[in-house]
Subunit: 561 residues, 2 copies
Amino acid sequence: MPHPLFDQHRPMLDRAVEAIRTRGFWTPFPEQPSPKVYGETAQADGKAAYEALLGRDFALDQPGQTGWIAPERSPYGVALDVRYPVCTPQALIDAATVAMPAWRKVGADGRVGICLEIVQRIHQRSFEIAHAVMFTSGQSWGMAFQAGGPHAQDRALEAIAYAWDAMSAVPNEAGWEKPMGKNPPLAMRKHYEITGRGVALVIGCSTFPTWNTYPGLFAALATGNPVIVKPHPNAVLPAAISVRIAREVLAEQGLDPNLVTLAISADPADTQQLATHPAVKSIDFTGGNAFGQWLRQHATQAALYAELAGVNNVLIDSTDDYPAMLKNLAFTLSLYSGQMCTTTQAILVPADGIGTPTGRVGFDQVAADLGATVEQLLASPSTAFALLGAINSEATLARIAQAPQWGRVVLASKRLEHPEFPDAQVHTPVLLACDAADETAYMEERFGPIAFVVKVADTAAGIALSERLVREKGALTVGLYATDDAVIDAMTEATLRAGVALSINLTSGVYVNQSAAFSDYHGTGANPAANASYSDTAFVANRFRVIQRRWHVAPPVAAAA
Amino acid sequence: MPHPLFDQHRPMLDRAVEAIRTRGFWTPFPEQPSPKVYGETAQADGKAAYEALLGRDFALDQPGQTGWIAPERSPYGVALDVRYPVCTPQALIDAATVAMPAWRKVGADGRVGICLEIVQRIHQRSFEIAHAVMFTSGQSWGMAFQAGGPHAQDRALEAIAYAWDAMSAVPNEAGWEKPMGKNPPLAMRKHYEITGRGVALVIGCSTFPTWNTYPGLFAALATGNPVIVKPHPNAVLPAAISVRIAREVLAEQGLDPNLVTLAISADPADTQQLATHPAVKSIDFTGGNAFGQWLRQHATQAALYAELAGVNNVLIDSTDDYPAMLKNLAFTLSLYSGQMCTTTQAILVPADGIGTPTGRVGFDQVAADLGATVEQLLASPSTAFALLGAINSEATLARIAQAPQWGRVVLASKRLEHPEFPDAQVHTPVLLACDAADETAYMEERFGPIAFVVKVADTAAGIALSERLVREKGALTVGLYATDDAVIDAMTEATLRAGVALSINLTSGVYVNQSAAFSDYHGTGANPAANASYSDTAFVANRFRVIQRRWHVAPPVAAAA
């Protein structure tokens, strides 16, 4: 079934499919918020569009609305007061169910074309959405633009490309002709139709309200499922704008906008009702282990794609560029005040120190040098505010305060006064040193700007501890610094066994906490930190099913179309 | 990583991949046990090989063996007395876990090549395995050869083709070069390695001990997982021969044969221990709802691919060939005494009868004619024994005895004396008539040769009832007889909503209970009868994960290999 939007976006789709097969660098969405790329007024226009949303009702015209709620509290300490519609879970599910058959009939081409159009419209609103990401998540402006805008759009496009790749492997029809010896062949015509599984629920997080929401949203939508987006109550606006755009595009295409709805409520029971509803067949969840485990136990009617907690770690054996290594690590620890799910928490250093071009550097010295490098990196206020952003939650603020009890303080966290937002919660990282035996300290996720330099007996013990951390606590990222191929090989084997991505000797402009769409799989799905990945075939293939019908025809039959 | 077996079997693999993409007729394994194809002595040799296994220990040299067990009781009433090794679940899991890393290192090519070699060796033993299938499942010889031999091998090859297709979509490595404006680009080399999820458990059924075991076995094995095959205690031998062949091929390749082991025990707790073991990451299960539900609730550490009970149904609105329709249905009801998971149980007929070229035929007449056609089909003893086979289980025998209480008996079941096997339990189908309101009668699976002609108010009510049966009770197959396109369209929509395969107007040599590999998806995964399909991308894609590693290189980097 040809569709104008599919034809229109086909070149981008084809390039995206090529990218997921070859996994080199590619993006259609420039990451720099440059006036040259986006236009001289893009920044001002986006800011104005964002500000026009504040202090008002964010109408979505959804069914079953019972009231309004304004749950957000900005980490920058500014008022948002956007009021979102509260709708009953049953009304959203009923509307989604009603909308689903027409969405199937659009066909894979049409659905993919419409999803690509939604992503394109989201892209055009990057500056507006970036402001919404910044002021809800606490990210700095630059990061909010990149991670919340183009990078999130990349992840959306990537999920759609995988969905298209998997769906297009199924022919629409086939001719089947079985030779029967001397008798005439048996001949049939068969049709294969792709159907979604049912209502999809996408539960977002407060730190990356678009980057962690788009993959599930677009994977589910493209494969034929209506989607209910349940954002984190503290980061609703970026999701709400995205949902509104999706609804607009769907309506323009003569489709039921209730294929994509926003669920927000003051009552956690509403989310539980959605998650366990028999009509809900898939759940994408980014968040903590407690609710993740609850979902696994109670939402057994749905396929769960979950990203949970972990203890990301880096092992240092040796380096050929000690200052560059320290700078790279300091950047990772500082970016968004360590509030990335990919931020390193445990830096494993042998008791007798590490090898460098100028000789061995002892454990205490490595810890001290890393602390000093973080301090130096954040010495300039403009750099500090651009890197750190603000602390996203009260729980993270509390953890920063508690942190000194978990180890010897190498570098204390400081609160910085933001010149523009006096109530912003800006805090520098705290760096602690401890022994590998102090497992209660570093061996659970301490989300936020809290990192440990952990003393391990030697490199082999460090590799073993890294593997155990991944296996038992989960990790999205592991790093290694080593100049010896044997160490690199041993760590490679350990990460293959444990099932985690490994970054080796990052001393340049790529950081262990960064994951580039189309090239880096985000999460492996092979350790407790996530049971799925952005994105791979497994992320999309079970979101749709193939329903066939067949009937006899007179031979000969034509081959598959 | 090139591998000689991969190169050797590459033409067959390429053709299989083409087949799953185009879904026309194809098989490399001739389904007729013809001396011209398989050799003049194949039948005698296969029978002798089978008989040489009887009454003896079936040694497998597996770890943790604590004794021997001979659990099989043949539906043909003959003694088998094959003794299989009982091994502790933990020993099998430990051995599988130890074997796994080397299996990963073989690489996707090598694993696929070795799996294809195993299938080829199994194919060469088709006659021996067919005898084992016949005497354990109760299938007739002809069916045991086709379904237990070439058709099962087709399903194995199909699963391997899907596994290869999904794995080969992941490049082994990539060059990644990100432009940085006026600065030099960031350049990295990335490697992507495919790893299995962990130990796979494949739990077989008693009726199709190879056809329903091979897809999970080969999907899991090809994607990097060691596999523990747990056959039904009454149909061990076909699985045991297959496992032995797999172990032989693995050992020849210098690999640990414990990558494929047989689990058999007198203690059901052993199966539960296997299923819930933390190392077990996937379970393929064909069987009843009770244990299926138990697995879903308790084996939450594993991905479950389950085929469970259902109520397959056929709606008759009208036909342009009444006698051919009756013959087609009678064949379906008779084949293997209705003991196929795809056998029709409920035949929905409007109260005012059906349209035929010679006028309307009333409900009672349709039922009577169908009963008479079954009787006629089975009138010749040679045809009867070739079609019916023997009753697989005591439970099915008991259901046949109970059946008359569930409706008006249109055709009573008869026991037939098998000329060759006097103790064989051969029973003809029982056909009952009832009203749609008699839901307790026909609305749960009555596995075996028990079918209902169900009186529905009209065609629309029949479509609605068919949809409800599929939604609530599940179905692998639905059929329709209708000469009116509007009825076909309405039923098509109903089956798309409910998620079940539809066969339309089968009056020739294809039957609703038949599913051809490479063309017909067996199960949709979209209704309660199965949460997965033989085979599709979803059946394989989540059985492996991709683990990446990356490091900086000097630009420019080469494109992906």
